[in-house]
């Protein structure tokens, strides 16, 4: 039931402003892709084009090789979960769940069986007779998902389904949501602006920047091997600095504001390195000596901001230790966690 979804050269403008710009992306059948980016990066526009609610200016959308670009939403067989849920207020939970089956004239036992199955999977059994106004936010969210899954969509689109929930609730809803989605084995595109959701929920992650695809890959690829400084900073901000790699034995080595760093790979020459907080530590007697500028307390850790010749950098301090602004400390680098950006970064300098 799950489709291979190809997006080819898709562009869409609103009043001269390019919302989506020449996006090429393939969603493999049965995989979950998270579509992530800052607000205004074109995530929702791309999703609406896939749903058939917006016509792209150019480009094509293919489901299993079949061009659906010109098909209206009702003939695409796509499941869509809105951020606001958009539940039908005049229908019961059961009627909301079965809506897609009812308009397809799927009646009787088949309808009954599917509604029961979804109600069980989503924990809605006791609520079937209620109206959307009579259930909680998390329950509405599950009904919205059930409504989109009922007719076994070839592609499930989720538009920030967790954004309207309070963070404590979002945690448990997220788990329930993805357990239910996994049962369906459909192709999923999950739009989010939350970087940790993007990494933990996707088999693949697509990062959008100003309507264009910045990078597409596995979560590990995007986090560990970002192709641009933008991608690197999107998933985990760190100090970006220019350095020169020189051969040292069978490896390369670079002189950085945080001392010499062994590089895992690469040729001699100019490189750009990203030092995220997790690549740095305050333990040990080695490392560059730095002056602490400010400290923010975050409970499970403190973030220590310090000055380097290349700009401000951050290192995490374990909860037991107290550090004050103005203190001088040694910061050690774990070379295995330093990120090397490719030399050919178009957003160079970012």
């Amino acid at each position: 039931m799950s489709a291979r979804v190809e997006i080819r050269g898709l562009s869409k403008s609103f009043g001269g402003r390019r919302a989506v710009s020449n996006v090429n992306l393939t969603l493999e059948p049965g995989t979950t892709t998270t579509l992530v980016g800052a607000s205004g990066s074109g995530k929702t526009t791309l999703l609406r084009c896939l749903a058939g609610l917006l016509a792209p200016d150019s480009g094509a959308i293919l489901f299993d090789g079949r061009d659906v670009t010109g098909l209206p939403a009702e003939r695409r067989g796509v499941g869509l979960v809105f951020q606001s849920y958009a539940l039908f207020p005049h229908l019961s939970v059961e009627e909301n769940l079965s809506f897609g089956l009812d308009v397809r004239k799927t009646g009787g036992a088949e309808r009954r069986r599917r509604v029961d199955e979804l109600a069980a999977a989503l924990g809605l059994k006791a609520l079937l007779a209620r109206r959307p106004s009579e259930i909680s936010g998390g329950e509405r969210q599950r009904v919205a998902l059930g409504r989109a899954l009922a007719y076994r969509p070839v592609l499930l689109l989720l538009d920030e389904p967790l954004a309207a929930l309070d963070p404590n609730l979002a945690e448990s809803v997220r788990d329930a949501l993805f357990r239910a989605i996994a049962l369906e084995q459909t192709t999923v595109l999950f739009v989010t602006h939350d970087r940790s959701d993007a990494l933990r929920l996707g088999d693949r992650v697509a990062l959008l920047k100003n309507g264009a695809l910045e990078q597409f890959g596995t979560p590990r690829e995007l986090y560990r091997h970002p192709k641009t400084a933008y991608a690197a900073n999107f998933f985990g901000a760190g100090l970006v600095c220019e350095a020169v790699a020189v051969r040292a034995g069978d490896r390369c080595r670079a002189e950085t504001p945080l001392g010499p760093v062994e590089l895992p790979s690469g040729e001699p020459g100019p490189v750009r390195l990203v030092f995220r907080p997790e690549a740095l530590s305050l333990s040990g007697a080695e490392g560059a000596i730095v002056a602490v500028r400010r400290v923010t307390y975050e409970g499970d850790r403190s973030r220590v901001y310090f000055e380097t010749p290349a700009g401000e950098a951050v290192v995490d301090c374990p909860p037991g230790r107290e550090i004050r602004a103005g203190e001088r400390l040694r910061v050690a680098v774990d070379p295995g966690l330093v990120i090397m950006l490719p030399a050919s970064d178009p957003s160079s300098g970012g």
């Binding site: 809105f82 539940l87 207020p89 005049h90 809506f99």
Partner: protein, 269 residues
């Protein structure tokens, strides 16, 4: 306690307003059933008690035909509002551009034009339609339609209805299924309110009707005017009471429908 004082003052003002508005109505209704001499309004002989239904039967004898005509005209106006106004409101609800904004203003335009001017315009434009009452119906429609389109349009664009329609489309509902299963049920209170408003506006319309009517198309408000100019006070009061008897239930229903809407869907959308 400034809050308390403010609420006392506003309460007193409200009571005053109600008294000012309600007093004429109370006098008219009382005048149709009570000897007007008791109200100090007339020196005529009170014959109400000598007739089975007081002055009402007399008024119905005199103006029953106009009363029926007004009811028919108001029904036609409502029907035309549904037939013409609903598609217009539905079409406009989802659109934003400049053209849609201009069309919305165009629908409101008749409200800004004095009835006299509308009537004369209609007479000059469609001289042939006067005898059959077509011009009259057109005049009523011109005044009722803006209210209908506005009420229906608000219902069709609020409560997240455009998004509900998208959700229905994504779930596989055709345009017709969306209209029947989602749009009409969700917007129903607003559409009904628009219809009731159109009814009360047509029922009470005087300016255009007075000018456009012929003796065979005269409506009840025009007859009402005649009762005041040519008949005694009790007859006019009875005629007015009959007039209100039809308008007030419509107003009450209007309130009821609006309250029902809030109760039915709660805060979920």
């Amino acid at each position: 306690m400034p809050d308390r004082r403010a609420s006392l003052v506003s309460g007193a003002l409200l009571a005053l307003l109600l008294a000012v508005v309600a007093a004429p109505l109370a006098v008219v209704v009382a005048g149709s059933v009570v000897d007007p001499r008791l109200l100090g309004l007339s020196s005529e002989t009170w014959i109400g008690a000598s007739r089975p239904a007081g002055w009402f039967s007399y008024v119905l004898e005199l103006y029953g035909r106009q009363l029926g005509r007004s009811a028919v005209l108001a029904s036609i106006t409502v029907a035309l509002c549904f037939a013409l106004g609903f598609p217009a409101a539905y079409g406009l609800a989802a659109r934003r551009g400049r053209l849609a904004a201009s069309l919305r203003i165009a629908f409101d335009a008749p409200l800004a034009v004095p009835g006299l001017a509308v009537a004369i315009g209609l007479l000059l434009a469609y001289p042939g339609g006067r005898a059959s009452g077509i011009t009259l119906a057109a005049g009523h429609l011109l005044y009722a339609l803006p209210f209908f389109v506005r009420a229906a349009g608000n219902a069709l664009s609020s409560g997240g209805l455009p998004e509900l329609e998208e959700a229905a489309a994504a779930a596989g509902a055709s345009r017709w299924q969306r209209l029947r299963r989602i749009v009409l049920p969700v917007a129903r209170p607003g559409i009904l309110a628009g219809g009731l408003m159109a009814f009360t506006i047509s029922w009470g319309e005087f300016n255009v009707s007075f000018l456009l009517a012929t003796p065979t198309t005269q409506t009840y408000p025009s007859a009402l005017y005649l009762t005041y100019t040519t008949n005694s006070f009790p007859v006019a009061a009875a005629a007015t009471t009959l007039f209100l008897a039809a308008a007030l239930p419509a107003l009450w229903l209007l309130q009821h429908v609006a309250a029902g809407e809030a109760a039915q869907f709660g805060e979920a959308a």
